[in-house]
Symmetry: C2
Amino acid sequence: MTYELYYWTGIQGRGEYARLALEAAGAPYRDVARKEGDHVIAEVGRTLATPSFAPPFLKDGSLVVGQVAVILLYLGDRLDLAPKDERLRLWTHQIQLTIADFVLEGHDVHHPIGAGRYYEEQKPESLRRAEEFRKERVPKFLDWFETILARNPEGPAHLVGNHLTYADLSLFQAMSGLTYAFPNLMKRLGPKYGKIDAVCKRVEKLPRIAAYLASDRRLAPNESDLFRHYPELDP
Amino acid sequence: MTYELYYWTGIQGRGEYARLALEAAGAPYRDVARKEGDHVIAEVGRTLATPSFAPPFLKDGSLVVGQVAVILLYLGDRLDLAPKDERLRLWTHQIQLTIADFVLEGHDVHHPIGAGRYYEEQKPESLRRAEEFRKERVPKFLDWFETILARNPEGPAHLVGNHLTYADLSLFQAMSGLTYAFPNLMKRLGPKYGKIDAVCKRVEKLPRIAAYLASDRRLAPNESDLFRHYPELDP
């Protein structure tokens, strides 16, 4: 069965977290809006009993699942990207939701007043928010990721247990966005977070992920994405 | 087995979403920080292999679960507050995550620059953000809740199927915060959302919830909580 992923064209965005899971598992999927245009996203939702509040959503036959973390909860079991053990399965999901919180804060740096206005309309506010993000929030989140890697009873090669999970993939993706948006900050902070870096490098080198990253299915980061590089926010 | 809930004292906050599930099911639980003080929250996390990034977290014997939505995923199965059917179980979780997004936006109205500064230090930015929240975001979220109630094949008495789930409880809690923080907005918008209102009234009248709301375990909303009533943000 071919999965169908619905997400905006033109950015990696939140769709990328689902895409990386599908790619890492070598699962067959169709990136529907990229084939047919963004208009299909609204069309599918119009009559569905379970419409997603926002993309991405995933169709698997007649099942439609929205919210990245729920998509990954669903795919994790099917694509062997989540532990079978119930406790570790919940822990993987908890990490995913914390990564989602982090990514949202990364987005809100350039949209503190709201997603309905352009960055250029909220630049003074962004400058203020970016300062707190760089000084308080990024270290707090990265400290947590580094800590849970250090405390993993199976060792720090993976966030959960001793196998790849969707949480590892998502950490890679979040760190790749963060490093794109805040290269100066990460030049200063990066060396403190060796365990995070090792997980990301391991993900990057997985044969299927490496092939994906080199393909034209992987879009370049840009200033419409969740993490954006505005030099004034990263002095 | 008595569940142990860890959350800041003094506010309903995110802990309330877990508390309502425990109360609705009549489950035995201990609200640990309210008994022993906020310091226990950090103490528990200090050495745990699975520390929560932030409270609330729930202990069930040796299991510790954090992130409200994961707590509810866990409790939903055990307290019969989630459907057994896998699709509906995922849909319930998807709704919960969308409610969590909404609640976070409700919080960020008064903290657009960051949680590390007082409201008084970000008032001009809050005034701007509140306008978009009132005009764009609240209608968008409420339209979605009303739509999924209208499209529920089992009728609009519940968000999912024809039984109470944790999503109904969470919708009640989010709407109760919204109405506290934005009474003027809700006077104008409320009448448009009859199905949401009916679900909330039904939750409020559940015998165990009614008893809880009348007890001293239910704290009053206040200006340290997620939803806050600042009259200037609700003209």
